[in-house]
Subunit: 398 residues, 2 copies
């Protein structure tokens, strides 16, 4: 009999917490609010918090990751949140509805911080984003920082870099975030400073971890121990460009891993072909996307990266009304292969990352990318698309 | 000394006709309003209309194609237009500005007809589109017809299929289009019924034509005669999916062929890697795109096509507000390879065709397309993108 053991069942499509009846006629036995405290892999049993044991033939670890809550005084005060799952989101929403929240401080300028600054501005709150680093979204190179900061400013979000949070205090109904650059009053504080993988149970089961510290798996999502699979944000994934197993906790990757594990458990020998590190976010009127490796990452993996950066157009030139589409491509000088891409624009940036993700997936060279056949029409790009222009520019450095 | 011989120099970026000075300091000698009437390939000379001859070492045929003007009485009356180049567009614009045009009839429901119906509606004119076939844009399959017709109707464009134009007459300042389904009054009539390749000069030069009737070239844009190149809408192009040379007169393809020819003439041995038949158009609020082969074409090229059609979403489900994204994928049952894709939606359709064009370029299988790593974020699609959903659906038929 298959068991699902977990804390809650979140339905992200309907944005609600579901009851075990959601599994209704599937024949799956659901144990909610049930904590697994140990795995006895030798005996093939999971140990529950009440001391009882459940035997298994096949076990799938989908323990995920948890949002980091900064280890500073006051980090657990009411009104201080992390945003990891639907429960967190519902908690934040309840707080905003119950209190007269007018000022939000977001700690962390990653893309969760960016997206949340927009969400909070849309509720007419003041929003400020802090980061310990000088600039937001470090996955993207310097060329992309100015337009993002401009977009934040235009929409009333203040970004303050090089700021270290020291403590949170409560006074007269408000929170006070103390930093090395002064005190910031807030009605709500969101910590968006990354995740930690939940690998305690994997360790308890004696399952091997990879270099990243996440659970080591193979292309069929099998761990080092027979009968134990791992999927999602607790395990590694193969990066097709880096040619290394990496840690990349993203929702779409987790979905694919779950499918592959399920198929293998069910008897189909499906292999997960890996990822190319495709990602994107929207902040107000900007689309921002990236895929593959940037120069720094490429150098770490032993490539000899060269890059080209262009300001292109998301539409044909005769239709242009001041739009910009920034494209940066990085390639390996030794092989001429594309290694990575970054795009930003009011529109069309994600469209290009869609195409470039498939180019990276297939290990295409920059020369070939410069001649790709793309569905040209002036509302969607030029006869030479921004992708072609950037690739041809980059080819000159190869 | 390089010569450029032509009728006019069109600058599509600025939408103006340029003078020969546009070539300014390039050292290219420009002969405008100059007609080449013959090519004496044995002697290596072009013969001009005035009987004079110009010798060449290398000749590039870029004679293009011309818009078909229906062979019916009145087809050349004032107010009856084709739309092929900038000169045509400027002529149409002048006519619309000079006359009080209120009613337009477009003959031909291809994508030029679709785009022009929108352009004319934007000028507050009545617009009607006729086609001899029962439905518009036959490059797209039946599943895509209803939403296109709905979009036309919603925007006040009447489409009438199965209608054969018989003659055009002039009376009291207006045109009258006589058809087998009645007479239609109009202030302006646009014929958008395709193109004919201009191959007379190629034939005069003794250059071989391909099965399509367009000039046969190789991957370096060389024709069958040494020293003669051909590029653009007068010549064929290699279709990477069909594995055949085909006729595909599209502006972006022409641009690429020109670049390849230029590089080869200049001494670099560049090869044009071919096309996958990517195309798109916008009509009012709809994006419509296609790439590769549809089932009918696939069967003609000897494949065993199977297809899947899905109604997906261009955004994550929790963000959806009634948007639709229609995706049809076609694959070869024998190899499992993707053969073609068609998409339609209010947004995101072209984004998917961008990605699927690169998938087709690389000969990917449907199984692999179902696991592509794409830049997921809810404003741009689901964790399982519409591409994945369609590919997984199709994989079940393979």
């Amino acid at each position: 009999m298959p068991y699902y053991i977990g804390d809650v069942i979140t339905d992200y499509n309907k944005l609600v917490i579901r009851t075990p009846e959601a599994f209704g006629k599937t024949g799956i036995k659901v144990l909610m609010k049930t904590r697994v405290v140990d795995i006895d892999a030798a005996k093939g049993e999971v140990v529950l918090a009440d001391g009882s044991r459940l035997p298994y033939d096949i076990l799938t670890l989908a323990t995920g990751a948890r949002a980091v809550r900064l280890d500073i005084p006051g980090a657990s005060l009411e009104g201080v949140f992390v945003l990891r799952d639907l429960t967190d989101a519902l908690r934040i929403k309840a707080h905003l509805n119950a209190k007269d929240c007018r000022r939000a401080v977001i700690i962390g300028g990653g893309y969760i911080g960016m997206e949340m600054s927009e969400a909070l501005r849309n509720l007419n709150m003041e929003a400020m984003v802090l980061d310990i680093l000088p600039r937001p979204v470090v996955r993207w190179d310097e060329e992309f920082v100015a337009p993002i900061l401009e977009e934040l400013e235009k929409n009333g979000v203040r970004f303050q870099g090089e700021t270290t949070p020291l403590a949170i205090e409560k006074g007269d109904g408000k929170l006070l975030l103390k930093t090395d650059r002064g005190d910031l009053p807030a009605d709500v504080i969101l910590m968006a400073v990354g995740v930690v993988k939940n690998t305690d149970l994997a360790k308890a089961a004696g399952v091997a971890l990879g270099d990243s510290g996440a659970v080591k798996v193979d292309a069929r999502q099998r761990t080092s121990r027979e009968g134990i699979y791992a999927v999602g944000d607790c395990c590694e994934v193969f990066h097709r460009v880096a040619k290394h197993w990496v840690y990349m906790p993203l929702g779409d990757v987790a979905n694919k891993q779950g499918r592959v594990a399920g198929q293998n458990i069910g008897g189909a020998e499906t292999e997960f072909p890996g990822v190319v590190g495709a990602q994107s976010f929207k902040v107000f009127g900007l689309e921002v996307g990236a895929v593959g490796l940037n120069e720094k990452e490429a150098a770490q993996y032993g490539f000899t990266p060269v890059s080209a950066f262009i300001q292109g157009l998301p539409v044909g030139r005769p239709m242009a009304k001041g739009e910009k589409l920034l494209v940066k491509l990085t390639a390996d000088k030794a092989t001429g292969r594309l290694l990575g891409a970054q795009c930003l624009g009011g529109k069309g940036a994600v469209q290009r990352i869609f195409a470039l993700s498939v180019a990276l997936w297939n290990g295409m060279t920059v020369d070939e990318v410069g001649y790709l056949d793309l569905p040209y029409a002036p509302p969607f790009g030029g006869a030479w698309d921004a992708i072609h222009v950037a690739a041809q520019e980059l080819a000159r450095s190869l």
